[in-house]
Amino acid sequence: MVRLNYDVIVVGGGPAGMAAAITCARAGLDTILLERGRFAGAKNLFGGVVYTASVLSLVPDLFSASRLPFERPVTEEGWWILSQDGVVKITHTNATLRESPPRAFTAFRAKFDAWLAKQAQKAGVLVVPKVRVIDLLIKDNFVCGVQTDRTASWDDHRPAQVKAPVVILAEGVNRILSIKAGLVPRDFSPKEVALSVKEVLQLPKGELESRFGLQKDTGLAVELLGEASLGLPGTGFLYTNTSCLSLGVGLFLIDYATHNIKPYALLEHLKRHPVLAPLLAEAETLEYGAHLIPEWGFFGLAKLCGNGVLAVGDAVGLVNPLFREGTNLAIYSGILAGKAAIYAHKKGNFGYHTLRLYEEALKDSYIYQDLRYFRKLKTFLQQNKSFFQTYPYLLNEVLHLYLTAQGRAKQEVFKEICQLIRKQRGVTGLLGDFVRAMKFLKGW
């Protein structure tokens, strides 16, 4: 007979869920992880950078494996600031970034998450894919299990239930269960999430290396600003994988609606950009995907736990778009939630006041500090449009004037540059933006 009672149920097989499940199983808890996809990673998508430290915190013997679940090390990073037909590139590399082990890798979720699932199985987690959790079982105000979309048996067509004193919700951005658990008061609004679209593009053999100046063990990860997001708050990205590249772009959901932009058209526009087009010549699209990114931040932060329930990763909005953090925060939060579940089992008490250990640990960590520090980021970006709408283009024009000043009186050129800045943004605008940016960075 198959058992349907466990110590811990984890809902969702992404990095957050896997981290929580692995932590619990390693402490000897009988842990089941339910994933709705055909396999862990089948339904997941991200731009493509994983930070090594976070993976090591979960799998310390990562580098003893013969095949790493990654694509390329990230050895050069920065921004390409696009105008309509030009670019200003600011990227950085140095010896430290090229050291081994690399501090970051590009990766595919279908491989990375599947690899995490293998680690989870090794740790003793029962990973069950193809199961969608449709509801929580709540008794006396305690979450005590889940209800699935699968039937109880071939003859009993009622929804199957799985029970455990702790349920960890790693359901991702669509936080249906977190709402049911009372951790989140409402669904997100279009202002609080970004929609990113991404293509994986295969270049002819050897072209990736030659076009991007790469060696076998180097890789490029750049954010694309300005024209990439049509001057709207948002960014594009270009990451190099082993033999292909990931190109994507994201905007706040609201901006697609307000400006009537189709996500695929936005990406097509980026692919046709005069700077990018030659880099992508003869590329074959291997994959096309889209994903919502929870950017509600500090003010939209859920209650992280309740009686018998904890929420981790995207479900609670643990992302930092500015620093491309998400997967690592998912892993850290998963580990912390797992520890709280272990603590609760030791105490034999699964109430909010025990599980709060997770909330407290998270509040002590840099994750929470960052969430607090960047709490106004979304509003800042949405209110200070010039950072996307004006400056990328202005920067391109200014640099162009400066760099093509030969054969002219330089004073005249500088005058033209000043005029241009004055015309585009004005001295007060410029100063205002500066003050607002400083205020924002000082966390006011």
Binding site: V2, L4, L126, R150, S153, W154, A160, V162
Partner: protein
């Protein structure tokens, strides 16, 4: 009823590409699935088990990761799953494959003879449709290919009626078990398995048969060695572009003839 289902893990051909330089299939990163026709064979076994009670044994030959295909079989209600996996099995054509499978089936049948052998009508990666028939011949059981329907008419006498799709229509055959059937998609729909079966599948570790144990296979009949077939080349056929359609009623006979002659000359046929 004692049912044996033989399945194959195949690359999802909706994703498959051919390396233009080497002419071989690019399997890197291509997800593997259970051959779709085999899924329907499993579905039939599952249905029969639920209707009449049955013991289902599922075998597959493949690399260690073919374990995933067997896990899927457990979701359908398979009671015993066996993976034939050994480097010596690798590179087998349909001859070597049917030898390897048939020997394994004979070995398993020593415990309890099988009443029904179910195969998919063909695998979507090779499309040969030869392994099922090859195994039937080796086992000495009757073969029915391209089955679309199976009805049990007498459990005691072990009589079944099988509908078989042919180019000219449907053949309805009455047969006494044991019989080997290769299944088309219409034979049964895959069920939406209940949770306990999924949990069972997640916990499954298939039995592994290698080239020595428990069956001492004849080395020269296995894998590449036992396969007279050699793949000369794999290539993507050129897409034929749609031809020009000209109506004689519009352009007249003589101009039509002129055009045809011009095209034929252009291609060097005339």
């Amino acid at each position: 009823m004692n049912i044996l289902v033989s399945i194959k893990q195949v690359p999802d051909t909706t994703n498959i590409r051919i390396n233009p330089e080497t002419g071989t299939l690019v399997r890197e990163g291509v997800p593997s699935i259970v051959n779709p026709y085999d899924v329907h064979a499993l579905a039939l076994a599952s249905l029969l088990k639920r209707l009449y009670g049955a013991h289902i044994t599922v075998i597959t030959m493949g690399p260690p990761q073919a374990e995933e295909a067997l896990k899927e079989a457990v979701e359908f209600g398979a009671d015993r799953v066996i993976l034939l996996s050994d480097r010596k099995f690798a590179g087998a054509d349909t001859l070597a494959t049917s030898y390897t499978l048939a020997e394994a089936i004979k070995y398993l049948a020593q415990e309890a003879p099988f009443d029904l052998f179910l195969f998919g009508k063909q695998a979507i990666d090779g499309d040969t449709a030869q392994v099922g028939p090859g195994v039937a011949r080796r086992l000495g059981v009757p073969l029915i290919t391209y089955a679309v329907k199976l009805e049990i008419i007498d459990q005691e006498k072990k009589e079944v009626i099988v509908h078989r799709k042919t180019a000219s229509g449907v053949e309805v055959l009455k047969v006494t078990l044991p019989v080997l059937i290769t299944c088309d998609k219409e034979i049964a729909d895959p069920p939406f398995s209940p949770l306990p079966e999924l949990i069972k599948a997640a916990q499954t570790k298939p039995e592994i048969f290698n080239a020595q144990r428990p069956i001492p296979y004849k080395r020269e009949k296995l894998g590449l060695k036992g396969s007279p077939t050699r793949v000369h080349r794999v290539y993507t056929p050129q897409l034929k572009s749609a031809g020009d359609i000209l109506f004689v009623s519009e352009i007249g006979v003589s101009e039509a003839v002129e055009k045809i002659i011009a095209v034929l000359k252009d291609r060097g046929i005339l």
